[in-house]
C-alpha cells in the first residue's frame, strides 16, 4: 500500500494552498500600499509601498533598524499592520496570522530563524504542516522529502534526526531556508538568509533564489550584502527610518548609489535630480534623520 499512498501524501501540501485557488508552482504577485506599524513610541514603518510580481526578485535593503524585518513580519502575518493595504494577485487580503500567511502561499525565513532547538531537523522542516497517514505522523515520507529539499540546497547536514541544537549556525540557516520551500509556496521571503552561510552555501542560496524566480515565484530578499543583492535582484527597494527611501532597477544601479540611498546621502541627489556627486554629501544625513527615530 505504500507507493500510491506516498504519492498521495506528497501531493497533499498543495491542499495547503486550496484557499488560493491557483495551480501549484505558479507565483503570486504581492503589493503593499501605505503600510504603517508602530511599536509604542517607535514608528517602525510609515506609509510603505512595495510591489513584487510573480517571477520577480525584489531586494529589500536598509540600515540596521530601518524596518526591514518588521515589514517581513507583517507580510508573514506575525504582526498586524496599523495602516495600509496588502494585495495578493490584486485582491486585498488580511493576513490573520502565520498560518493565514502559509495558507495564502507566503513562506518566510525569519532573521532569527525561529527553529525549535529540541526538535530534530525533519520535525522543524514540517512544523505546522506535518504529513500524516491515518492520523499518524508520516515520518518516512517527511524524512525523504527533507533529504530532497536539503540536497537541493547542497546542505551539509550529518543527519536529519539530530536536534537542531546540534547543528552549526549555517546548518540551521539552511534548515530554515529549506523549511520555506516545504508546502509549495507562491512567494518566498528571505530575511538575511545568507548571513551565516559559507561560500558554497551562499552561492547555492543565490542560485536557489534564481531558480525560484524561474519557476515563477515572487521572492523578497533582505540582505546587507550589496554584491549578493545586485547579483540576483531584479529591483531593489531601499528603506530608511521606516520609510521608502528609493527604488532601483538592479540593472542600472551601482553599489555606491545603493549605499548612498541606504545612508540617506542620496536624498539630496534626488532633490537635485541626481546631478550632485555622491561623495561629499554626508552632512545631509544628519539633516534628514529626525532625532530619536534611529534604532
Amino acid at each position: 500500500m505504500t507507493s500510491p499512498d506516498l504519492t498521495k501524501t506528497q501531493a497533499s501540501p498543495a491542499s495547503d494552498r486550496a484557499g488560493r485557488g491557483d495551480p501549484a508552482g505558479s507565483g503570486l504577485a504581492l503589493s503593499l500600499s501605505g503600510v504603517g506599524k508602530r511599536f509604542g513610541a517607535v514608528q517602525a514603518l510609515s506609509d510603505i509601498s512595495m510591489e513584487v510580481a510573480a517571477g520577480e526578485v525584489v531586494a529589500l535593503v536598509g540600515d540596521n533598524g530601518a524596518g526591514k524585518s518588521t515589514l517581513v513580519k507583517i507580510i508573514a502575518g506575525v504582526y498586524q499592520p496599523d495602516a495600509g493595504e496588502i494585495r495578493l494577485d490584486g485582491k486585498p487580503v488580511s493576513i490573520a496570522g502565520p498560518r493565514g500567511a502559509q495558507n495564502l502561499g507566503i513562506a518566510t525565513v525569519f532573521q532569527d530563524l525561529a527553529l525549535c532547538d529540541n526538535l530534530d531537523v525533519v520535525a522543524n522542516l514540517f512544523l505546522g504542516r506535518e504529513r500524516r497517514q491515518l492520523g499518524v505522523l508520516d515520518e518516512v515520507s517527511m524524512e525523504q522529502e527533507a533529504w530532497r529539499l536539503l540536497r537541493r540546497l547542497s546542505a551539509k547536514i550529518p543527519s536529519v534526526r539530530i536536534p537542531i541544537a546540534a547543528l552549526s549556525g549555517g546548518q540551521r540557516q539552511t534548515v530554515a531556508i529549506a523549511r520555506s520551500l516545504v508546502g509549495d509556496p507562491g512567494i518566498v521571503i528571505l530575511d538575511e538568509p545568507t548571513a551565516a552561510l559559507g561560500v558554497a552555501q551562499t552561492a547555492e542560496v543565490l542560485a536557489l533564489v534564481r531558480r525560484l524566480r524561474e519557476t515563477g515565484l515572487g521572492v523578497i530578499l533582505v540582505s546587507h550584502n550589496m554584491s549578493d543583492v545586485l547579483a540576483v535582484a531584479d529591483r531593489i527597494e531601499v528603506l530608511r527610518l521606516g520609510r521608502n527611501a528609493a527604488s532601483f532597477r538592479a540593472a542600472d544601479v551601482s553599489v555606491e548609489q545603493l549605499v548612498a540611498a541606504i545612508t540617506g546621502a542620496s536624498e539630496r541627489d534626488r532633490a537635485e535630480r541626481g546631478e550632485a556627486p555622491i561623495g561629499g554629501t554626508q552632512q545631509t544625513k544628519t539633516v534628514d534623520a529626525p532625532a530619536g527615530e534611529t534604532s
Binding site: 498560518r99 512544523l127 524524512e143
Partner: protein
Amino acid sequence: MTVAADLADERLVQSKGLGGALDLVWRRLRGGDLGSLPVVIGLIVICAVFYSLDPRFLSSFSLVNILAYAAPIGIISLGIVLVLLLGEIDLSVGSVSGMGAAVMAVLVVKESQSLVLGMAAGVGVGVVVGLVYALLYTKLGIPSFVFSLAGLLGFQGVLLYILGSDGTINLPPNSGLIEFARFSYLTGTAAYVAVALVVALYVAGGLWKVRQRKRADLSAPSLVTLGVKAGLLALGLGWLTWYLGVDRGWSYLFLLFAALVVGMDLMLRRTRWGRHVFAVGGNEEAARRSGVKVGRIYVSVFVLTSTLAALGGVLAAGQQTSVSQATGTTDTNLMAIAAAVIGGTSLFGGRGSAYSAMLGIIVLQAIQSGLNIVGVDSSVRFMVTGAVLLLAVAIDSIARRARSSSGRG
C-alpha cells in the same frame, strides 16, 4: 552496496547492527541525553538497599501493592508531564483530584446517583478546571504557577465544603469502582496472553517501520536489534507476570495506568498534536510563526492535566474506599509533581516522556513502601522524597549543561 539516502554524508558516524545501536546509546548518554537512565539506576539502588534491610521488600505481595498504589497518583503525574513539556506547572492537581473524588462520592452516596454519573461528574470537574486555567493563561496571561497555586488552596476549600460536617464519605462497599480499583487483578493464562499480545504488537510495529524505511530507501534499524529488544521485553514482562502472579497478579488499576502511559506516549511522539506540544515547549514563538495554534495546545494540555488529576482522584477514592478531608492534599500533590521530574521530564520544557510518570511514581512508591516495611516514620519519608527530588532536578540541570556543551540542546 548502496548507502541509504540518509547516511550519505561522509561525516556521519556509521552505526550498524546491535553493536552500532549500543554505541549510539553510549554516545547519547555521554552527550547528556540521559533520558530515563538515572531513574532506572536509582530504582535498582533503592531495591538493593531495601532488600538488604528487609527481603520482604521484593516479595510478590509487596510488588503487587507498589504497582497498585502507584497507579492513581501515576495517572495524576502523567498530566504533570504534559504541563512540564510546555514549561508550565500545575500545583493544584492534588486538590483537583480530591475535589473530583468528593463530587463523585457526594453524588453517589448522598444523592444516590448512579456510579457512572458520579464518576463522569468527578472527571468532568477536572475538564472544567482545566478550561478555566487555559482561559486564565491564554486570555489573561496569568502565570501557571500563580493560578494553580490559587487552585491548590481554593479547591481544597471546595473539598472541605462539599464533604460537609461529617468529613468522610465511605463509598458503598459493593461499588463497581471499589471492585475495579481494589480487587481486580489480571493473572494466570489471561495475563500471559496479554503479554504475548503486547510483544507481538511491539514486533509488528518494529517490522512495519523497518519495511517502510527500507522501501523509502532510508536506513532502517537492524532486525537483530529489534529481535533483542523484543526478547528482552518478552522476558521482562513474562517474568514479572509470573512473579506478580505468585501473589495476586497485575492490578487492573495499574494496567489502566500503563495503558494511559503507552497511549500518551504514542500521542506525544506520533501525532501532530504531540509534535506541537514539544514545539511549543521548545520555542513558543517559533511554533507560532510556523502556524502552530499555540493557544489550542495550551488549552488541550491544561484540560488534559486537570482531567487526569480528577480521574486519578476518583480512582484513588475507589482504591481507598472513601473520600476524606485529607484526600488529595499535600502528599498526593507532592508525589505527582515530584514523580514527573524524578522520571526525567525536564522542568525547562520541551523535553520528557510519558514514561517518566510511570518510572518516577514507581520510584516514589517503592521508597514509601520500603520505609513502611522497615518501619520508619512518615517524617523520614518526606525527607527522603525531598532528597530524591532534589537529586533528580540536579541531574536534569547537570545534563542540560552537558547537552549545551555537546550540542544536543
